[in-house]
Structures are given as C-alpha cells and as structure tokens.
C-alpha cells in the first residue's frame, strides 16, 4: 500500500508541472497587448510599466513560469489590479460559499443518485425500474444553469419555498443551488450505479451467494452493492471537475458570492490574474480529489494494491 501511495504521488509531479505550465501560458494567448486589454487604451505609462512588470511580462516565458511555480509554493498567486488585493486573498474569501454549495450538491448527488440507480437495477424488468431509468436520462440532459432557472421559477417564485437568490438565509439559500447543481449530476450517478449493479448482479459470485442460501437482501447489500459501488466511487473525481464548472453558472444565476461568481465577475472586469489563480486552484483541487479517490479505491478493492502472497497466482484474473 505504501509503495502504491508513493507511486501515485510521484506520478502527480508531471501533472502539477503541466497544470502550472498551462496556467502560466494564459497571459501569452491574449490577442494584442494584455495590459491594454486589462486597463484600456488610456492608461498612463507608469502604471502600464508597473502592471506589465508585476505580471512578469518583462521576463522571458520560462522565467515567468518558474516564478509562477515559486509563487505557488509561497501561497502567492499574483496580484489583482482591479481589486487592488492579492489573488489568494480574493479566492479564499469566495471559497466558503462554494464549499457549502458543493457539499449540498454532493449530498443530493449521493442521496438521490445512488439509491435511484440501485433501485433501477434491482427492478430492471419492472415498470418502476424503467421509469427510473428513463427519467434519469431526461434529468441528466438538464444543463445545471437551465435547471437553476427552472427551479427559481417553480420552487422559488411559484411555490415560494426557497430563497431565489443571495446567501442571506443560511443553509436554506443553498438548497436550490445545490439541487440545480447536484440533481443533473445525480442522474449520472444513477446511470452509472444502475449499469454497475446490473453487471454485478449477473456475476457468478452473486448466484453462488444465493446458492449458499444467503438471504436475498444480504446478497444484494453485502455482495452486490459493495462491488457495484466501486466504479461509482471512482467517478467522484469527475464530479469535482463538473462542480467547479457548474459553480460559475449556478452561482451566477443564484447570485451567490462564491468562486463561480468570482470567475464571472473577473471575466467581465478582465481581471486576468484572478482567473489564472482560480484555474490553477481548481485543477489542483481536482487532481488531489482524484488521488484521494484512487487511494480509497485501492482500499476498497483488494485487487488493486495488494501483493500476491499465495503459492500460485493462476487464479488471480
């Protein structure tokens, strides 16, 4: 297991370098002069030179790249001239709102998605299973921000159950955003859990477990579910990425001051250092989540990281 962890950590290094590389490339892909794009035509020469220097554009690209990596190690992601504050400070302020929303969405994702998928698989031949399966593909086709607007309209305005925008009402304010973000993705979960459970239910060890006289419920839960949930779990890394993208749209629709709306406002204000910082942090977070998922996976499935100790390994497949 230790060897497995070390191996995974080492594999992380080129990925992190690559992410930093792509992030530092961003300043160089702006058509025209980046400082002019940021600050407009009529900027005084002194400010122009300062900003250009602070962005590192007076240096060759590779020096700028190394400076970016050094900055990352010191927790320095650059300086926003629009807000006149360091980027990491701006991002840190926005994180709690997004985390609350992410947790809400994740809870909805798990609570709705996995049971729906498992029920659809167990009742595959019945009407209920078919209804669950077809509704999952409809829900899965909802883009989060369109779901958000539909929910604002129906649950927020017509029924008045939840606040429609802002974050003043505590956790209640996060219900609709969490639903909008979590529900479409829960359908992904449901479809995956269904396919995985259906696959597992035809495995010989399930029939074998029934032939040993174990109660059906026990077979489903103890032998079926655990095996079926392993692929579902490995997909959780993907959700973190989808959440990061989804925050931008849902937070904009619901007017929540999180990282997503920060992206939106930074785009409109051409606050490039903030955008670069958020892109890097999101990718870092996604990569670390994937690492965590891999480690949990190795823990759940003994076939991944154990050393074969038996005399023979012919039955390992």
């Amino acid at each position: 297991m230790v060897r497995f962890i070390v191996k995974r950590l080492l594999a992380l290094i080129p990925i992190l370098l690559g992410i930093s590389f792509v992030s530092s490339m961003l300043f160089y892909i702006v058509p025209g002069d980046i400082v002019t794009v940021m600050l407009g035509q009529h900027v005084d020469p002194l400010t122009y030179a300062n900003v250009r220097k602070a962005l590192g554009l007076d240096l060759p690209f590779w020096e700028n790249f190394i400076r970016f990596i050094q900055g990352v190690f010191c927790g320095d992601l650059g300086y926003s001239y629009i807000q006149q504050r360091p980027v990491n400070q701006i991002i840190l302020e926005a994180v709690p709102v997004s985390v609350k929303m992410g947790i809400m969405a994740l809870l909805i994702n798990i609570i709705v998605g996995i049971p729906a998928g498992i029920l659809a698989a167990i009742n595959d031949k019945r009407i209920s299973g078919r209804v669950l399966n077809s509704s999952s593909i409809i829900i899965f086709s909802f883009p989060a921000f369109i779901a958000a607007m539909f929910m604002q309209l129906i649950l927020g305005v017509k029924l008045g159950w939840f606040p429609v925008s802002g974050s003043e009402k505590g956790m209640l304010s996060y219900v609709l955003p969490g639903l909008a973000l979590g529900l479409p993705l829960s359908a992904v979960n449901a479809r995956l859990a269904r396919a995985s459970m259906l696959e597992v239910m035809t495995q010989e060890y399930i029939i074998s477990a029934i032939s040993r006289g174990l109660p059906y419920r026990r077979v489903i839960i103890k032998h079926g579910l655990r095996n079926a949930l392993i692929p579902v779990l490995t997909n959780f890394g993907m959700f973190v990425g989808a959440f990061m993208s989804g925050f931008v749209l849902t937070e904009t629709v619901f007017n929540l001051p999180g990282m997503g709306r920060l992206v939106f406002s930074a785009i409109n204000a051409r606050d490039f250092p903030v955008l670069r910082g958020i892109l890097f942090i999101s990718a870092l977070f996604a990569v670390l989540t994937n690492l965590l998922v891999d480690l949990i996976y190795a823990r759940l499935d003994p076939r991944i990281a154990t050393v074969i100790v038996g005399e023979n390994t012919d039955a390992a497949g």
């Binding site: 060890y205 032939s211 039955a315 390992a316």
Partner: protein, 334 residues
C-alpha cells in the same frame, strides 16, 4: 431410499424468437448415500438442471415451465421460502469454476464465516474456530492464513477446496457438484474428486456429480444419467451403462471417448455438430438426437421416444429399443 426426487422438470430460456428448451421434461431420483452422475455434452442441459434443483433458475434468467423437486416430503419448487430453508444448509452446490464464484472484495474466510453465522447463528469466536476447522477438513494447510486472504491471492485448487468447505459448512444431506475443478489440471481435479469422495463417505452424504468426462463418472458414480438436448437418453447403474450402452447416443459418446483416449483423428460424435447452437434444430417433434443419429428411422423425427424401463433397472428412450422389444428381444445389443 430416495432423498431427492425430480419429476417432469421443464425449463425454458425465453429468447426473442422462441423459447429454447434447456431442460425438457426430465425425471430422476437421488438415493440416500449414492453418487449420481449426469453426463452430456455442452448445451445438453445438465448445468441448468442442477441450478434449477438448487432453485436458481430465475437467477440465470430461465423459466420453469413445469416440474417438481421433492425433498424431505415437500415440493421445493412450490415456494421460494422452502428453498431459503434448505439452500446452502441441507442442499449445497459447488460451481464449476471457483474464482468467479467468490466475491473478489471479501476475504475467503469471511465468506465462509458468513454462511456459518447466517445459517447456524454462531458467535464471532465460534465462527472463527469452525472456519479454521472446515478449512482443515478440506485438507488445506495453514487454514488461518488462507482465511485471511482474498480470492485473487489464492490458486484455483485452493479456491475449489474453499468452496467445498462452504458446501460442507452446515452439514448438508445433498451436494450438487457441477463439473468441479474441470477447469483445473487433471492432478488437482483428481485430488479434489478424491477428497469429495472421502468426505461423502465419511459424512454419509448423497452427491450429484455433473461431468463431461466419462472417466470421472466411471470412477466416482453409482448411477448415471446420460443427457442430450435437455432430455435423458439413458439412465441406470454406471457399470451397466458404460460397459453395455443401449442408446445410440451413449454408444457414440463412448466411442468418441475411446477414440480420444486412443488418439484417433475423427472420433464418432465430432462428425456432426453439437447441439450448442440450437438455432439449427427445429423444435423437435421426435427424438432430439435424431438429427445426428446414424440409426435414425422415420419415426424418430416424428414421435418422442417413450422412456422404457428394462429388466436390469435402466431406463432408455429410443424407438429402436421399442422395436426390438416388440420383437421380443429386449437385451439385444445395437
């Protein structure tokens, strides 16, 4: 005395076009303490028969059309509840391949222990002791170590022994073994079968042994059923049938086996195709073997051959035999 009796069992697989008759109205009985062999080539319905007797037809997607499985004065097929009481406890099943039959993410000891705690309600400590003891019974060295390992860490032979230990765990009356260890090499297969025989004799069990290897049947079984296309062609004492086959199918099966042993190029049955691809055989009005039988007569294609019990106790389903008998010469060789 009969411990298990199967009456008129018919099992279909429903496909899009028409049902495939996997088992087509078979009846047989298992006597207490005996070993009953079921032989047949791939697709003859022997595994489906075994799984149906275990009450697992639905689990493999099959439909029971008719039939009764009598055990302990009850027809098990009449209710799934009856199966819940006997499955794994009174009637055990050993599948063909060991590795896929075990849950890959649970230690083998836990899977064995699960049966003990579910069926016998043993406490955790008792479960551990009994697990080790059972693994010792199946002649595994270091039972404590084996119990802690996952299926992928163990060899096929060891896993087969673990499954045998599971089958024995609750003191069953009957064990149904579906080609045990046939995917392993012959020495390990022989070891497993010898072990199964020893334990069977010691515990006084009754055994149904499914095999396609006539040698295995000859060495291990008291009586044998020859199956083809979901029907029983011939049934009786092993020595009688294998030494003096009457049904043309049994005859060619034995011929094939002998040819293989002697390394001849084109043994009997390989001249025609096996029944595995049932698409080729229209719903047989008559004998299912007629299309491959070298001695087939017109009536063989038109009418099912009734099963006939001969004086020596064996039953055969073949029109030829019927004709011969009407000629007053029942024991004539064909």
């Amino acid at each position: 005395m009969e411990i298990l009796k199967v009456n008129d069992l018919t099992v279909y697989f429903d496909t899009r076009c028409r049902p495939v008759k996997a088992v087509d109205g078979i009846s047989f009985a298992l006597r207490r303490g005996e070993t009953l062999g079921i032989v047949g080539e791939s697709g003859s319905g022997k595994s489906v028969t075994a799984l149906t007797v275990m009450g697992l037809a639905q689990s493999i997607g099959a439909r029971i059309v008719s039939g009764e499985v009598w055990y302990d004065g009850k027809n098990l097929l009449s209710s799934q509840d009856l199966y819940r009481q006997v499955r794994g406890k009174k009637i055990s099943y050993i599948p063909q391949e060991a590795a896929p039959a075990l849950n890959p993410v649970l230690q083998v000891g836990k899977q064995l222990g699960e049966m003990l705690s579910v069926h016998l309600g043993l406490s955790a400590g008792d479960v551990r002791r009994k697990t080790a003891q059972l693994l010792e019974t199946v002649e595994l060295p270091q039972p404590e170590l084996v119990a802690r390992l996952y299926p992928h860490q163990l060899s096929g032979g060891i896993l087969q022994r673990v499954l045998l230990a599971m089958a024995l765990s609750c003191g069953p009356d009957i064990i149904i073994a579906d080609e045990p260890a046939s995917s392993l090499d012959t020495t390990i297969q022989a070891q497993i079968l010898r072990l199964l025989g020893t334990i069977k004799a010691r515990e006084g069990l009754s055994l149904i042994l499914i095999a396609h290897d006539l040698g295995v049947i000859y060495q291990n079984c008291d009586r044998v059923l020859i199956m083809y296309g979901g029907r029983i062609m011939e049934a009786g004492l092993t020595s009688q049938i294998l030494e003096n086959p009457l049904h043309p199918y049994t005859v060619s099966l034995l011929e094939t086996y002998r040819c293989l042993e002697e390394g001849m190029k084109q043994p009997g049955l390989t001249k025609s195709c096996p029944p595995a691809s049932r698409e080729n055989i229209p719903d047989a009005l008559g004998c299912v073997f007629a299309y491959r039988c070298q001695r087939a007569m017109d009536i063989c294609f038109l009418k099912k051959a009734p099963s006939l019990t001969l004086d020596d106790g064996r039953t055969v389903s073949c029109h030829h035999l019927l004709h011969l008998r009407q000629d007053g010469n029942p024991d004539a060789r064909m």
